[in-house]
Symmetry: C2
Subunit: 224 residues, 2 copies
DNA sequence: CCATTAATCAATCGAACATTTGAATAGCGG
DNA sequence: CCGCTATTCAAATGTTCGATTGATTAATGG
């Protein structure tokens, strides 16, 4: 019966994508690649995996055609095969958030004992940046900033923040963001800034969320 | 370091969804549940799996909160936990179609040697149904028709089609549809109808695709 | 309350997977 | 062309997964 074979063959193909996102290290790698392309070593470092292990996971993602690899000199740079992959990852995350109560519990537990962060409405934000009303601060590593950031944002990676406080105005309000709702970089940044007497809030959205809402994203270095 | 644990814990939760869709039988079950709720036995029959095996796969889907189980008398009826699950499944399928060239190849190979089916534009279809210009024919099992169908569609399951040809007008054009692009019911129906001298075409879209485009879907029995 | 039917559970076995380790490859820079 | 580095490959580990089988539970009807 040819029809049964057709269906089985198609479901098997679909499951290739499923298998690719069935492991937490691979999801973490995908998340990082949604921010910017990276070398194997950089991915391994960020995700806290061994290089060999990272390489193998990346090959699984590559076999499912979710990422592309390109050799650039001595390094192999991996990147999302398509922006659609990021959209798919975000759909998965949204579904998980709404279906798995466990996620909310984890986030709540983590946020316990921390200052609650004011929600920032992104619609008004761009306008306020243009009016020099607020400073939007991108605290991710610089290569992620270069791969895409909120227009007008200033790049100071979290590690360098303490050393570069003089770049920031104490008069203006600071809106810090990082990779997205589950990234802690901006939380840490706000904690530091407040301790130093700045007025700072965290924006939960990262660049992928920003992009998904159809808002503009700038690439490259920002004119200072 | 609490931040690493937070991330690991979240990716682990996300991978629960991934694992749920990492197996072809489970994807087939999800696909069927996108059409209508069903008992374990019915799902096993449609998917060609043993009852015990089906039950276990359904429990995996349930553990990932993608489906709900409700005991109704002697039977357990499984249904999608949320319409969002169907949307996620369709996103996965769309991604697979665009990323995995293998899928296109499988479908092309299957369609080889069959009469090419005219593409039906759904925008105009509802209007033509209202004008009694065409007959829209739903050839899925009746319980799927009852769970949701295209407004104005007539329900004749493929198996009963040959015995009920007298219900259909030879003057009007027939547009047959089934579960979606990878379902062969409508292909078979069109083949039969054409052999019997009817003017019939297949519409690739099924009810989930129809619904996803925001077009109206009717439920229950249709007034004849 | 016993027989029947639907579904699940429990145990099993082989296949597939994740991670680690150490070796191999490929592109540079001297 | 030699040594260095980034990455991949290959083998070996323990673990998890998938399907089958037979037993068990739960609801129903006599």
């Amino acid at each position: 019966m040819a029809e049964a074979n057709l269906k089985k063959a198609i479901y098997k193909q679909l499951s290739r994508i499923g298998k690719a996102v069935a492991s937490s290290p691979r999801l973490e790698l995908l998340d990082l690649l949604c921010q910017s392309p990276r070398t194997v070593e950089a991915l391994a470092r960020e995700a806290g995996l061994s290089v060999a292990n990272t390489s193998q996971h990346l090959q699984v993602l590559h076999a499912a055609r979710l990422v592309d690899a390109r050799k650039e000199g001595l390094f192999v740079t991996y990147r999302l095969a398509d922006q659609q992959v990021c959209e798919f990852y975000r759909t998965l995350r949204t579904l998980a958030e709404s279906r798995l109560a466990e996620i909310e519990a984890i986030v709540r537990q983590f946020n316990q004992g921390r200052e609650s962060m004011e929600a920032v409405e992104k619609q008004a934000l761009l306008e306020r940046v243009r009016r020099a009303d607020v400073i939007v601060l991108d605290v991710r590593p610089t290569e992620e900033y270069r791969a895409g950031h909120i227009p007008g944002a200033v790049s100071i990676p979290l590690r360098e923040l303490e050393a570069h406080l003089s770049k920031l105005s104490r008069r203006r309000k600071i809106v810090a963001y990082c990779r997205g709702p589950y990234c802690v970089l901006a939380v840490e940044a706000v904690k530091l800034l407040r301790a130093k007497g700045f007025r700072a809030v965290r924006m939960e959205q990262g660049v992928p969320e920003w992009r998904a809402e159809g808002l503009p994203v700038a690439v490259g270095e920002e004119a200072k």
